[in-house]
Symmetry: C2
């Protein structure tokens, strides 16, 4: 697979080691585009899209999963013509313009199979009940004289106005016809999609099996929340942030203890789990500082460490560890989340239909902004109901509080170096 | 509580029974507004908002829940001034405009507590590492001559350009200061909010306990998916649709078998579960036809059956059953989902911060539409990335396939009877 060959080459190339310039701020000559890195992630994960990973589940267990195959409607919806109102079923041809007095027959409750309607008769009918043979319209009860239903079993008459054929009748197949495609492979199964399958009488559905991710956060400087914080250290937020994001997206997560900055320890940690997961995600240790534990731990593996023309989240690792797909996200929390949202989520959504892709919304900037011209900048913001978006915090990737106050990612594509208040941007709703 | 007293009155009032007109199409004289019914739902559920229902959970178990109390930051973020770059920490006052050759001291890795910086020295420093006392700026490594770090332990010099104080330094507290409010009570705890708590060293959080809903779908005409479908019957989609919507919103659901149209059976079914749930939701049997099992089962309970000026979802039941809060949604699937999204979800979101409220987005209509002037119409549509919304299916509440193809609810407020292509509407993203 090209990416990894190229990876091994680049990893040991002088270009790469002399390439600190690509890392920070400056011109990203040699950096790869967001689209190209997303394509590499798709290539990396493509082997997960196999029939062997499909499973058949009861509807209630399929919530939030992606549909594995197209589903054709086994029956039409509605299955039979039924009434949209509580009223009287009539044959429109038998009621002249001036209206008519008709004999009322036995009422038709929902769920019953009514007798055919005789000429000169009207059948009291409930919402959802089957239209009798010979009837082609429903007159709402409030248009009848008298405007109520006759007492059951009592023979009587009712005056009804002339009504066009089809009035308040839900035709069989007016929602979907038997044999039509009800849902396409790769559809995210939310309440409405599962509700449709239930309406079609389908009790089980074949979905893509949940992807299991090994999540390893690294760094001698990070400490588990709840422990004391020595000088110079920070609490690990990447683990909680990414585990929550992965789980919210419907992925299964195996989370390891924080790995130290000793490559052999990280290697052993990954080996101890690699056999039981579909994907390894690490945070930190991928840039070009003097202490980059993930780069060192992946030495000799089919992995490359690249710089994507994106801010934040430029430094990225990608490849395999002992044959298991591997993604190395940067060490800053915002960079981690942006890496997940920009690369892993859209690729999984495209392949499996789950997680659901983010909703892209055009918004007007509430402030001006600047952006490195050659990078795709991803800012955090709060989208307002009036269609504007306020930026939260600056462009720095350490601003967790600002991220927690945001509900959207704000995209400033490569090639744009400044935008004014009121300019339109694409935002993704978080 | 007014609503229920009024309920008992209305339930047995001739006005109510003569009121079929309020039900269908015509002028909704006597119908209650969406806002008023939402307020009644809020009043009904208010007793659930008690300290007794708060629980303290580990961060990973709090995903998707609502924060019970404000949380103040126990420390500042970042906790100490640190470097935003791999580079050299300097005292900006000691580097003249022309730059200077400085002695390199021991490098500062992330997590370490560096010695104070002496005059004439530069400290190689990694991203995230603590800025030494006496230093006030960082020069990125690629601006240094030579543009790389000295070998550890080797005394050497580096030429660095003049740099303004504060350059590439993340000041302590620049994200949030100790004592400031980090998160407000009622905040939905998603990945970013949990990540912030982790960054603050907080390992446990007090949230509102999950609300448990008893879901009972009714009707002699509905059949469980997977069974054969007799003539005149339909498959139950409400149960799957609503259970999925409630669970996706983070609620716990107890789902009963489909209740028959015999009121005493429904009453027994509700009694058998009422003790163990926070809320009873039924579907169907709330309108004014001749066979309305929920209305009949609730006879003598503190419940009312009202008509809300909304389409679909006009007929609504509200009150208590044996003292347990009760909501009676209409029988059509789309009406059920609209009832949940318009009344239950926003009320719970407002009270508990969970489920997350829907995102409201202004959109331009891709088609013209008409709407009953005195009702709030809720159409289904697919929102497009260009900011337009296409209507899916008609206004009829039986269109499950159209609902499954939608990603948004389209609001046409009361007072509006027609809109043209291109007119702006508010949509809620599903």
């Amino acid at each position: 697979m090209t990416a990894y060959t190229e990876g091994r080459t680049m990893h040991s190339s002088p270009h790469e080691h002399g390439g600190a310039l690509h890392q920070h701020g400056g011109a990203p000559h040699g950096a790869r585009s967001v689209a190209r890195h997303r394509a590499a992630v798709a290539e990396l994960l493509a082997p997960l899209l196999t029939e062997a990973r499909a499973e058949t589940l009861a509807l209630r267990d399929a919530l939030g999963k992606g549909l594995a195959h197209d589903i054709a409607a086994p029956l039409s919806l509605p299955p039979f013509a039924n009434s949209q109102m509580d009223g009287f079923a009539i044959n429109s041809a038998h009621v002249p313009d001036g209206g008519a007095e008709l004999r009322t027959v036995d009422p038709v409750p929902a769920g019953a199979t009514p007798a055919a309607l005789e000429r000169g008769c009207a059948a009291p009918i409930m919402t959802g009940a089957m239209i009798p043979d010979g009837a082609d319209a429903v007159v709402p009860v409030e248009q009848a004289v008298p405007d109520r239903f006759p007492a059951p079993g009592v023979a009587g008459t009712v005056w009804l106005p002339a009504t066009a054929a089809g009035t308040f009748v839900r035709a069989a197949g007016s929602d979907i016809r038997a044999g039509e495609r009800a849902l396409a492979a790769g559809t995210f199964l939310g309440p409405a999609q599962l509700g449709l399958l239930a309406a079609l009488g389908i009790g089980e559905v074949t979905v893509h099996r949940t992807v299991t991710v090994l999540l390893a956060t690294t760094g001698d400087e990070v400490v588990e929340p709840g422990r004391p914080l020595p000088a110079g250290k920070i609490y690990d937020s990447n683990g909680t942030l990414l585990e929550s994001a992965l789980r919210q997206a419907g992925l299964a997560v195996v989370r390891t203890a924080i790995a130290s900055d000793r490559p052999e320890e990280l290697r052993a940690l990954l080996r101890s789990h690699a056999g039981s997961v579909d994907l390894i995600v690490t945070t930190g240790g991928v840039s070009k500082g003097a202490y980059e534990v993930v780069r060192q731990a992946m030495d000799g593996q089919a992995a490359e460490f690249v710089h994507v023309a994106m801010q934040p989240g430029g430094p990225q690792g990608i490849g395999t560890f002992d044959g298991v797909p591997f993604l190395g996200f940067p060490g800053n929390p915002v960079s981690c989340l942006v890496s997940f949202e920009m690369f892993l989520r859209p690729v999984l959504a495209g392949m499996f239909g789950s997680p659901a892709p983010r909703t892209a919304v055009p918004a007007r900037l509430a402030h001006s902004l600047t952006s490195p011209e050659h990078k795709h900048q991803v800012r955090r913001g709060s989208y307002q109901a009036d269609g504007t978006v306020r930026l939260e915090g600056g462009d720095s990737s350490h601003l967790m509080h600002a991220l927690a106050g945001s509900n959207a990612l704000v995209h400033v594509p490569a090639g744009v170096s400044a935008l004014a208040e009121g300019d339109e941007v694409e935002v993704w709703m978080l």
